[in-house]
Symmetry: C2
Subunit: 334 residues, 2 copies
Amino acid sequence: MTVSREWQLVRRPRGWPVPEDFRLAEAEVREPRDGEVLVRNLVMSVDPYMRGRMNDAKSYAAPYQLDQPMYGGVVGVVEETRVDGVEVGTTVRHGLGWREWAVVPARQLEPVDPAADGVPVSAYLGVLGMPGLTAWVGLHDIAEVRPGETMFVSAASGAVGSIAGQLAKIAGLEVIGAAGNAEKVAWLRDELGFDAAFDYHDGDVTQLLERAAPKGIDTYFDNVGGDHLRAAIAVMNPFGRVAACGMISAYNESHPGPDNLFQIVGKKLTVRGFIVSDHAHREPVFRRHVSGLLRNGRLAFRETHRHGIESALDALLDVLRGGQHIGKMVVDLG
Amino acid sequence: MTVSREWQLVRRPRGWPVPEDFRLAEAEVREPRDGEVLVRNLVMSVDPYMRGRMNDAKSYAAPYQLDQPMYGGVVGVVEETRVDGVEVGTTVRHGLGWREWAVVPARQLEPVDPAADGVPVSAYLGVLGMPGLTAWVGLHDIAEVRPGETMFVSAASGAVGSIAGQLAKIAGLEVIGAAGNAEKVAWLRDELGFDAAFDYHDGDVTQLLERAAPKGIDTYFDNVGGDHLRAAIAVMNPFGRVAACGMISAYNESHPGPDNLFQIVGKKLTVRGFIVSDHAHREPVFRRHVSGLLRNGRLAFRETHRHGIESALDALLDVLRGGQHIGKMVVDLG
């Protein structure tokens, strides 16, 4: 009998989640039935969108059920199989994270090949996973960036922002990034090749962006909302576009919006929200493009690894707070 | 020697304009030169966008110069001509309003034919003018409305909103309007055929809209911003669109924006600002469509007329305040 630890939501957070809203429980793992496999999870994802699942409100993300295991992206190894064509030992990505073992139906399994791609398994939760696809779709399908333009990206050292910024450079744009400390800013500027980067704590974000973008910006890849969105609208050139990918500043606290929204009219701006799951059909093109860039060493990525399922909640809370980590946050379970 | 009265801006308003910011001056009218005509202005337009021209800031509308005549849409009669093909007596629309007489270069003249269209000359400043084209472009090119959808329009009894709402009905939509008093609401519901309408003073705009739109809304035609924009975002269905035509709530005072902008992401909304002058190429299609609707009695319009150039400033201030007038505000000069 296998026992698996799993995180459950026991109370819906009001505002910032606190440890008392969650429980690390133990559950017996049942045998897989026909059409299912048993997966030993190796590495799981923690992502800002998971905050939305903790609310009961209608949202693009179905809410977590109370006293049930939470879920999310994860990569693991098939240990028992009752699915034709899926062998024991196969590395798979699926959606039943936040637990050490999972019984997964065949249609949810995505086999991955880290050896062929030359990446660690965790990359399928980051640069080759949902955050990477989010960056790619936001850039090419939502903002529809063009060479020669200037793009601003917030949370630029994060899982999505760091890929969006690099992909924009590869697409021929000038890229300006905002991040939360000097080490992150140095990484953007010195290693990822951003044309400019600043620490948003260093002053008024609008003034910081004005200084970094003397010619204005044409696109803003928004992961933050709030004062970053205000700055982008203020500095944006006519017909500029905002790809609204996330507004993490608003996930836990309600804030008034920017006071300069009327400029959306005068500057003829487009603000377009998107959720990556509506764009799953772009996965093959994305995968071909980005795995090629990785093989050619044209795209860098960083990950922050926490260890053990007991650390997963803190990892998520750090992501929501915008902590000191750089790149994609994952939790190793093995 | 003809003397013309004209309004000049003498000081840039801070916040709400006050009469001391303006002067009604007299100027001698010079003779037209080759390629110019002398026009006796009959009826002039006052529009919310003119507030933007009073600022020195970079904007889509070039700023009014201090101690110079203001300008804007106007219809008049040619009294002297030095342009081949333009006869004395021709009714023309041009851009040198805020004055009784104007010397106008040929390329700025648009001859109009109120007898053929069966409308008063003032209609070329309203339903067949810039506000009508704004409504048409916002609906068909920006919001890209489709039959069966539900649209919310703010300032719905105004020059743009009343046309946008009726055109949406004609396009097969359900239409909900917000306006500022019971008479306006009754006009929308009883005469223009809106499916629902409410007075935004009657409570929280979000709650009023929720009640009026139990199935949610798919498009919002925004003339107001602020609490109306908040309500629209709250009630909008996934993939909804905002045609951001104006945000009159922000023209004279700075306000924080809505506190629910993060829903732009989760609901995958698009907010698109536009300025009608970028869409002048649509004028022929618009004119054909709307003049046909007018001839067939399918489109109603109302105008509020003020009399004498001395009343023009108050007329504009009333428009900015959202006064008791219904439909397009114009000032008769003749």
